[in-house]
Amino acid sequence: MTTSPIHRAAQSTPDGVARKIRGLSDRAIAWIFVAPTIFLLLAVNIFPLIWTIRLSFTNFRVNRPNNDVEWVGLRNYKRILSDPDIWNTMQATAHFLLWTIALQVLIGFFLAFLINKKFKGNDLWTTIIVFPMMLSPAVVGNFWTFLYQPQIGLFNYVVAFFTGADPASFSMIGDVHLAPWAIIIADTWMWTPFVMLICLAGLRSIPDSIYEAAECDRASKWRQFWTITIPMALPFLMLAVLFRGIENFKMFDLVVQLTGGGPGNTTTLTSIDLKREAFEKWRTGYSSAYAVILFVTVFGLASIYVKALNKVKER
């Protein structure tokens, strides 16, 4: 077993040399294995981020490369933070975030609760429910515009069927009041399964023995739900909210295909607004400052939230 020439050579040589004969040292291998990943991330993520920060202090415009690039200090930031349109955008984003998270948590948790009753065939139905979230949001979002068509759209038809309204009388995408709900409905349809899966894992992690003990103490089902199920599933619920929060703060593909930010600016979420500034108006410096503000916001909120999450977990 240990008679290979390499091994015999290794045994009779000093430690350092032996390691060289037997192959690279662990330390060297660790670096060789990690370095390409770190390098690629630095090149494609961190370098651009630093570049964005640098550009955010200039008046650079991509479409006018021959203009002199001037250092404008904090002017871009001041402009953004004092621009009422940005606050409208932020409000639209907040509205979208709050409602999608609320609906997805409620429906997702309820579904998980039901699936956890272990009825026959629950695996099959869970897989079917999960389909929407795995699909391309852009392609699916585009198709939702078809479902939302007044008169011919399936969504309008179904709503009309149950309410008796005229299916041609309302346009989910064209109406300023309905459009924010159009994106909330589509997003909820798509991402409720995500919350459901995480909640299901949470519910399944609760040991049966706790319920058995509660049953011995004659705690009612209702009481068991509020004092055992909810507190023990809470860290999972919070994790689901964190993921959905970050994802929906970045939301672009689904909504841009559904409404394109319209009508007016009613569904212009921050990512869509940023895309307009950067790739339609080509205000590179300005939009870079915008991007930095967004990133700091996500990162800041996420860190605070993760701290809260860890506290809940410790309990």
């Binding site: 929407p132 699909l135 391309s136 299901l200 058995e212 999972f236 940023l274 996500v298």
Partner: protein, 312 residues
């Protein structure tokens, strides 16, 4: 069967099952509607009330894969009888097929970029995950958090400098550029997931291999890799699905040669405006593979979507 107080009774199960099945049926309808619309004629696709029973036609698929020009009766006569079944479908609408559409090309781009980035991502990700799992890497936690944090950035926010950088390097609208970009985006997922999978392989296996005279490297690819095969496969499918579905970078950084299917499908336009059956046909071909993968992945779904934070 042993009696358990925590086992829900029969009527509870039945009721829960009924509600879940109802939800599943409602949620699957939009997807079934996409598939059905792909087989409808244009008139059926926009009829009121929406039709559920219809005469299936491949017109949507023909329109998806071809470019057609409107032809006058004289032109149709001059062109002679239709040569193929798809020619016949086009002729019925008074159009002549002028050539293949760009959908095939876009689909192929999705395949090349999807598989290319997945492969690269798995090579880099497995190596990094192994190192993070088994060695004492300086600043390990910081590096892991750094890798994860790259996922928090809105794609649009980094798209500007990536656009500039790619332009300088000549990578805009190239397959290589998109492969590198998607690899970088997916690395966070693959490193975190794979680290979890490798952590679960008992370290004793490798120690035994090392004692037997394997080098570290041999132990890695002869012992660890085969053990981690399921984990690597499911991680690869997650990376593939992400690259397959990605839209924001694709729409901003590609326009011609390297454009993938997601930015292309919504812009399919027929001779008379939006051609919904063709859009639906394009969407069906694009979405069905993902549904198949979802079924294959169902055991590891949770792990994948939470970056390994939740394991079953």
């Amino acid at each position: 069967m042993s009696f358990s107080v925590t086992e829900p009774n029969k009527s509870t199960k039945w009721f829960a099952g009924l509600l879940v099945v109802t939800y599943a049926v409602v949620t699957i309808i939009p997807l079934l509607w996409i598939i059905a619309t792909g087989f409808k004629s244009p008139a059926d696709s926009i009829s009121y009330p929406p039709v559920v029973v219809f005469e299936p036609t491949l017109e949507g698929y023909v329109n998806l894969f071809t470019d057609r020009t409107r032809a006058t009766d004289d032109m149709l006569e001059a062109a002679g009888p239709p040569q193929t079944w798809y020619d016949e479908i086009a002729r019925k609408r008074g159009t002549i097929i002028s050539g293949p559409s760009r959908y095939g090309e876009r689909f192929l781009n999705s395949v090349i970029i999807g598989f290319g980035s997945t492969f690269l991502c798995m090579v880099l990700g497995t190596a990094a995950a192994y190192a993070f799992s088994r060695f004492r890497v300086p600043l390990k936690d910081d590096l892991l958090f750094f890798i994860l944090s790259t996922r928090m950035m809105p794609p649009i926010a980094v798209a500007i400098p990536i656009f500039l950088m790619f332009r300088n390097l000549g990578l805009n609208d190239t397959h290589l550029g998109m492969i590198l970009l998607y690899t970088a985006v997916n690395l966070s997922l693959s490193v975190w997931l794979l680290k979890g999978f490798i952590d679960e392989i008992p370290i004793e296996y490798e120690e035994a291999a090392l004692i037997d005279g394997y080098t570290r490297f041999q132990a890695f690819y002869k012992v660890v890799l085969p053990q981690a095969a399921t984990g690597i496969a499911s991680t690869a499918i997650f990376c593939l699905i992400f690259a397959w579905n990605e839209y924001a970078f694709a729409v901003l950084l590609t326009s011609g040669t390297a454009q993938t299917a997601p930015p292309f499908i919504p812009n399919i336009i027929g001779v008379n405006g939006k051609d919904w059956p063709a859009v639906a046909a394009g969407a069906t071909i694009f979405l069905v593979p993902v549904m198949v993968f979802t079924v294959l992945l169902r055991k590891h779904l949770l792990r994948g979507i939470t970056f390994g934070a939740v394991r079953k």
